[in-house]
Amino acid sequence: MDDDRTLAELAGRPLDDVDAATLAQVRALYDAADPVPDDLVERIRFSLALDEVFDEVARMTRMPLDAMGVRGDQSTGTRTETLTFSADRLTAMVTVSRVGPGRLRLDGWLAPPEPFRVHLRMQSGDDHEVTADEQGRFSFDRLDDGFGQLSFRPVGDDDAANAVVTPLFQL
């Protein structure tokens, strides 16, 4: 009872310097225990520096391969990761595999299988573009390690407002 009353009374007082000092320590605590990843701000800036208009941001989901023990061992050069991107107008499933030292390959599958131009924009500055085939399949070969962002645009539709873009993901 007393504790409750004391708590209510403490809670009703204005913030003071002790509170400011406590919050500064909470801040230092989380800066130590769970800091914002070093390059996150840079990667966000890159992902926003699109010079194109887009209609939708696809949601990215990493397939839980870790949990299933399926993911390859990076040291043996067989790392594979599967991502899905979902937007209102399309769903894409993408697998990134390591095919050699410093060499990656990205295989994707789009649904519905309509002709889309698929653009891969790498943080390194490289740009790649392919067109998905009539089954909705597309691939990029000989990619370097790094972060990339995909965008999908219907073939023959030059209205930029119909593009779907993905967040940046690691290749």
Partner: protein, 206 residues
Amino acid sequence: MIGTRPEGGTLVHQAARAFTAFRDGDRAALDELVALLTPLLWHTVRGQGVDPVAAEDVVQTIWMRLLHSRDSIRDPQTVVKWLLTAARREAWRVSRRARTELVRTAALFGQEGDELAALPVRHDELPEEVVLRDSRQRRLWEHVQGLPDRCRELMRVIAFADRPDYALIADSLGMPVGSIGPTRGRCLAKLRQVLASDPQWEGSES
């Protein structure tokens, strides 16, 4: 951090100014906005129990949605609220899905899904490799972890903001009015109480 920043104005004011400049065509102002508010978004999302890899994806996705929706935010003073609300909602969606997957995976291996679904309150994970600076910081960690979930979430985000913005941020995180600012509120009062009654904390007052 007390009151305002050296550059003038609180975090919310600075964000509003940067957002306005960006909408008026100043591209660099968007970069500034990202640097200003990403810590707040990170701690909002991680505070909801989203793992670090997924948290990066959520924070980035929220920024891309802001880029897309910039014209629908009429009052620049609301940009912080817009971002925090969106981050919290998306984090909730992602952690709920992660839990569903966990239960499904467990079922696959013959474990009782219900047991996992009924896991006790989540706590922030302390990565093993992290060695907190000193015993004082470890005490604080334990006391913060002892707070109710909602209080822990609030303290964690508030700690990265400026005092005049506390009430707006608490509101953006879905906390009731009066959770913090201008008065201390129950969460911070609780933390203050447990710290004051910890002889190890008192004794090590710096």
